[in-house]
Amino acid sequence: MADAPVTTGPIRLTLMMGRRIPVPVPQPVTDALLSAQVTVASGQRSGFQLAFDLSKGGLINTALLPAGFFDPETRVVLVVTVQGTPTVLMDGVLIRQEVGISNQPGQSTLTVTGEDLTVLMDLEDRTGDSFPALSPAGRVAVILTRYASYGVTPLVVPELIPQMSLPTHRNEAQNGTDLGYISELAKANGYVFYLDPGPVPGMSRAYWGPEVRLGVPQHALNVNMDALSNVDQLTFAFDGTAREEPSARVQIPTTKLSTLLPLPELSILRPPLALKPAPALKKTKVKDAAKKETAPALAETLAKAMESADAVSGSGQLDVVRYGHVLRPRELVGVRGAGITYDGLYFVKSVTHNLQRGAYTQNFTLAREGLISRTPVVRP
């Protein structure tokens, strides 16, 4: 028993589809799945692409495709189980299907692409819905309750600089679609908005808040460490012009005098990951700050500074079987073996999952604000 090989394989992919409530797909659909690609990035919507084998007399071509099984707005949930631990990769809806018919037998394919559930928030223009006496976080929480039937549970972090305006003075109203308005509010506060699928299939967490650069780092990425290496390749870049130092001038309504706003400390929301942060070579001005109230202008300046703080980026590829876990985006990860300058903790900006029969690789990008690790060791 001890020497017996692992029979069922350490990686299992479960595909669930359905109109509104996803259910496991029939076995012929699972068998026809050729490849799956899922792209998840911090602060952006996620997308997926599935390719199916489209044989002439198969179940997909004769029954499922004409019956609308792969029609737009079908919900798709992808769960991958690596070493007995399930991870929900995607909870989204189909928006496009492509059928490629080939003269060669076995070469016809059905390719479906889709995006995560935020695409549903981008369908209806709700310009004009007003939110009297609600802070940006309160407005986001109100909007997100509309999507509770899709299993979206909101996690809204109050904004750092309170921006409650009096209903007698100013009445905030929505501009554009739900997603557009939420993203606009997030950008104005230096926050991100994304849907994080899981922990169980059919649920996802809608997060509106700062990028979480806290918590227990994931298992370290080892490079150039002989047998211990678990990354195929890793490249780093240090861009000197990436970081900007914005400043804003506001006008005091009574005296009409303009004054320069002091830039608050960034590290409240972003604990530094590097010992030597990159210098800000570029000095920029926040446009139209004088027309705004002080609190939104300050929040925008802070957002601009946070957005551009990451000067060091890394990218690479890993094999999940060798790494032993699924690398998750929007979390911290340690890097070992890259030398004193580039070792240490990084924030995982984006991850692309590439699943094929017998292969599961991930392409990832990392980011942090400078060089040299702050921690003497990273968790292996």
Partner: protein, 119 residues
């Protein structure tokens, strides 16, 4: 100007120290306060999933020398997932699982992951 020290960050749930492969990863943490004010955090009771609702991956007939961790390595790919076999075959003591040769064990998929359906 700002909300004090880190009031907005309190809305972010504290990360659990249990890895995702642990059975206590999603178990909520409670706080016990002694009469003298000393605070002791503890894990709440972990509720077992209903074995009938777990998707079946395989069936295994116990033979002499089987251990739950060896079965977990064989079927699930990781020896430290033996507790999933115990979840699917409820016993009081995990050693009971492989104590009787000939006993049929159900190897189940993790909770929440549905099994395959026949088309």
């Amino acid at each position: 100007m700002t909300n004090g020290s880190d009031a907005p960050l309190e809305a972010i749930p504290a990360p659990t120290s249990y890895p995702r492969s642990s059975r206590y990863h999603d178990t909520p943490v409670a706080l016990h306060v002694d009469p003298d004010g000393r605070q002791t955090p503890y894990l709440k009771r972990r509720l077992l999933p209903d074995p009938a609702r777990l998707g079946t991956l395989a069936e295994h007939t116990v033979s002499v020398g089987d251990r739950p961790d060896l079965l977990a390595h064989h079927y699930l790919g990781s020896a430290d997932q033996w507790w999933q076999i115990a979840d699917a075959n409820p016993v009081v003591d995990p050693r009971e699982l492989t104590a009787t040769p000939g006993r049929r064990l159900r190897i189940a998929l993790p909770a929440g992951v549905p099994g395959a359906v026949d088309g």
